[in-house]
């Protein structure tokens, strides 16, 4: 079962350029049907999960490629599979204006399988394998337009990601040597007897591995690939560079911290302080850069950088509550950011405008898109009643509860970042709806909202933003169970 959901999208992706579709719509139906089917399978599997580990291949000793559905995989796989069908639907419409669709959809669909592989991996080695694979299948998506800019960006993306993975690999080796097993176990697998007096070395290795996986999660100073990768078509930026790829980085760090090294080992050490300080810095740094940026998609990319570090901040608190905060932001941010990116994409698709200062007065021409953008902006700011508030509340609650002075400072960073978020998001909203007195509406003639393929995903995401904001108790309880190791 696990293998089916991972391999099905990969095979389907490979088939896309091979099957001679007569019409474009046939390919659309084929892909959408497969993606929906796969998502249904994933959800079925998550809800009727098997406790056992499924081992595909066994290498020497305790190294193996194996899969397991546990609480963390449920969160990440559930999230990814919920978003993918909508993103695919959106991509059909968006890609009408781009070339080489076949190639695009091939890699786009393959990525689905690889991401599921990461989330369902049962040990570090398997996760590492799919993690590398993810880099490789997404590079063609970044360089899709084949402009010089795109090729440079994809090269940068490749080098950063592979470099990061190499550092993470060091962490992998140390866990294999000093751990009792490489499988993920909540609470960590390190063997105290084996470590002996080498605690500091292991802490150093943890920091190195954190930074390694952190490259994908765009922590400072390894973040510059993410805004550059925004040259990719918007469905890629939205789904991969706001959810799948970057969240894989965050996911890997959660696995590393909670399931491999273990919070008991790390909590209260200098390593915790170092990584927490890095995330705090990234939170503020990302937002400040977003305020300065005038290109819409790049601005959102910087916002992603900062929001990813919200998640990592929750991780570095290293308490179950911190994990709850991290998980809730992981899920809620995914929905908010994909929604705002899709709005940006819809704007680019309908008007060919890329810069913030070109958006004057568009709010009246595209009321749906900008209405939804406003909701997601409010959610990102953390207005109560929307999902962003809940996840920030959980993060801050965990920080206060931990009693760690540095974490108190982290709450300050969250709030500074919230203010900066308001600045970079609401200036767009104000421009769009209040263009000013001497604005000539004639320049916007003929611009309308996009068609249902683009709007439907947007409305669904908005619905979830509001739903999670108003009634989050069940899902937070689920995260609590995950953090407590019940699943």
């Amino acid at each position: 079962m696990i293998m089916i959901v991972i391999l099905l999208p990969i095979l389907a992706g490979i088939l896309v350029p091979l099957i001679p579709f007569k019409k474009r719509s046939h390919m659309e139906i084929f892909l959408e049907a497969l993606v929906v089917l796969n998502s249904l399978l994933v959800w079925y599997m998550l809800l009727h999960r098997a406790e056992s580990i499924f081992t595909l291949a066994n290498f020497t000793g305790n190294l193996s490629i194996s899969f397991k559905v546990d609480g963390m995989s449920m969160v990440f796989a559930g999230l990814v599979s919920a978003l993918w069908p909508f993103a695919t639907l959106y991509a059909f419409e968006y890609m009408t204006k781009e070339e080489h669709e076949r190639v695009f959809f091939m890699f786009y669909t393959m990525t689905y399988g690889v991401t599921l592989g990461i989330s369902l991996a049962a040990n570090l080695l398997t996760m590492y394998f799919f993690y590398e694979l993810l880099t490789l299948v997404t590079v063609p998506l970044v360089m899709h337009t084949l402009t010089r800019e795109a090729i440079l960006a994809s090269r940068k993306y490749l080098y950063y990601s592979l470099g990061g993975a190499a550092f993470a690999f060091i962490g992998l080796i140390f866990v294999i040597i000093y751990g009792s097993t490489t499988n993920f176990v909540l609470g960590g697998v390190l063997d105290v007897e084996k470590i002996g007096g080498r605690t500091n070395i292991l802490l150093l290795i943890y920091v190195i591995a954190f930074m390694g996986f952190g490259v994908k999660a765009a922590i400072c100073p390894f973040n510059s690939w993410l805004p550059d990768a925004g040259v990719a078509p918007t469905p890629v930026t939205a789904l991969l560079h706001a959810v799948a790829v970057v969240k894989s980085g965050a996911f890997a760090i959660i696995r590393l911290t909670y399931y491999s090294f273990g919070t008991d080992f790390l909590k209260g050490t200098w390593a915790q302080n170092v990584v927490m300080a890095i995330t705090m810095f990234t939170i503020v740094y990302g937002c400040s850069r977003a305020v300065k940026e005038t290109h819409l998609k790049r601005r959102l990319a910087y916002s992603t950088i900062s929001n990813l570090s919200y998640i990592l901040f929750g991780v570095t608190i290293m308490t179950p509550l911190g994990l709850i905060g991290a998980l809730s932001h992981l899920v809620f941010h995914a929905v908010m950011k994909i929604s705002s990116f899709f709005c940006a994409g819809a704007i680019m698709h309908q008007t060919d405008r890329h810069y913030v200062h070109e958006l004057d007065g568009l709010g009246y021409k595209m009321p749906c898109v900008f209405g939804i953008f406003t909701v997601s902006a409010f959610a990102l700011m953390g207005v109560p009643g929307l999902s962003g508030f809940v996840s920030k509340w959980n993060l801050a609650f965990a920080a206060v509860e931990s009693g760690n002075m540095l974490a108190y400072g982290g709450i300050g960073c969250l709030l500074i970042s919230a203010l900066l978020t308001a600045i970079y998001m609401l200036t767009i909203v104000v421009r769009a709806f209040f263009p000013g007195k001497d604005f000539d509406a004639g320049t916007l003639k003929g611009i309308t909202d996009p068609n249902w393929k683009m709007l439907l995903p947007l409305f669904v995401f908005t619905l979830f933003i509001v739903l999670f904001g108003l009634h989050s108790a069940p899902i937070i309880k689920f995260f609590g169970d995950v953090a407590a190791g019940i699943y």
């Binding site: 409010f378 700011m381 953390g382 207005v383 109560p384 009643g385 508030f389 809940v390 509340w393 959980n394 801050a396 609650f397 920080a399 206060v400 509860e401 108190y408 709450i411 300050g412 709030l415 500074i416 919230a418 203010l419 308001a422 600045i423 609401l426 200036t427 104000v430 209040f434 263009p435 000013g436 007195k437 604005f439 904001g469 108003l470 009634h471 989050s472 108790a473 937070i476 309880k477």
Partner: protein, 490 residues
Amino acid sequence: MQYIILSILFPIVAGLYLLIRKESENRKTLLLCTGTFLIISAVLVIMALCLAGGGMFTLFNLTDKLPIIFKIDEVSVLFSVMTIIIFLCAGFFSFEYMKHEEKEKRYYGFYLIVLGVLIALCFAGNLITFYLFFEMLTLSSMPLVLHNGSREAIMAGLKYLFYSLCGAYMALFGLYFVERYGNTLTFSAGGVISEQAASAHGGILLLVAFLMLLGFGVKAGMFPMHAWLPAAHPVAPAPASAVLSAVIVKAGVLAIIRVVYYIFGSSFLKGTWVQTTWMILILLTIFMGSMLAYREPVMKKRLAYSTVSQLSYILFGLAVMDAGSVTGGLLHVLCHGFIKAALFLCAGAIIYMTGKTRVEEFRGIGKEMPLLLWCYTIVSLGLIGIPPTGGFVSKWYLAQGALSSGIPVFDWLGPVILLVSALLTAGYLLPVTIKGFFPGADYDYNSLRKKEPSALMTIPVLILTILSVAIGLFPGAVVQYLSQMIEKII
């Protein structure tokens, strides 16, 4: 309890309806709609006040620990009555005034939404509910500020937005800690911080208390975060300035009342560095606001600076934490509300009838519109604090409270600054009267034409004037009503 929900939801829904409905050709239908909505909202609020009782009412839970609660207590009554009166007056005033502005529909839409949000703030029963509507207030009142769409107005709107949000986030920082160390987030007279928590985590709690005061103080125009107020209030259309300056800033005051007396409790804050620092900031604001108003030549800006200073009168009363001074502060909430609304409406009527905005152009204005300027003069005297107007009574209580509080230095410094500021208030308000009624010997009486504005404008001003005097003449009832509540919280 359904009355509470109705009184909050009705204006919001009505406002949204106005926003999304088609631009109608007929201005009269729009006004009729808005007028009806305003009156129904007022009736609903009064019904809620009379019939809802004092019980608590949980709407739903935001997360498992964060309920949205509404409750009506004495403070709610005070603030909601003031809100609804001023909104009605300014609303009917704008029916005439908004003739010379564009996009009326949008204006009335947001006007009604703001009304609903303010009522919700008055009725909020715990800190999280309050915070929710506090953010909504900022977001929904911003369109009123940038209404006329000039570059200056949009910049002022953004400034307002970012200052307010900055304040709200500071308050949110405190909220997290209150959630952790307090017994509950529900407003309870005397505070929710247990003695155990106060002794174990006193340092951090004082720090967050200070941050919350500073944060909510942004809305109340407290130094050092006051700069948005003189930028944002004058650029709005006059009736909107009136509600901004008279009511919306009071949301900050309400927040501070809730935080000081219903969350931290005066016994926890009394005599700490928080109280001292806060009072220093307040006294600075009072003096600075008056000084800046005195130097300002543009009428509406002058009034905005005056708001900065007058709001800190109220805050001073709250900061002294003495029964008398709190009574004075709360009375001043009412007086300043009515007076400042009337002043802004006067300024608006002058702009509407003559197009004059600067004080030095107001020569002979009293000859052109005597009734309006009489009202202006009476409420000005009230703001200065000359008996028998409301301002006198509230300042009396403020000074008396400060003198009897026994706080070293501040017990005399506070009243002195109040007096100096009163002098400055006279200095910046009365020149209009003098110029208006006594234009001088070389004034050309032949070209004088009566320009008294229509009844739609004068009657709201008149009502507000009468109310501000009435408080001064019959303060007993209000003071008695307040004293019951104050006994509980001090």
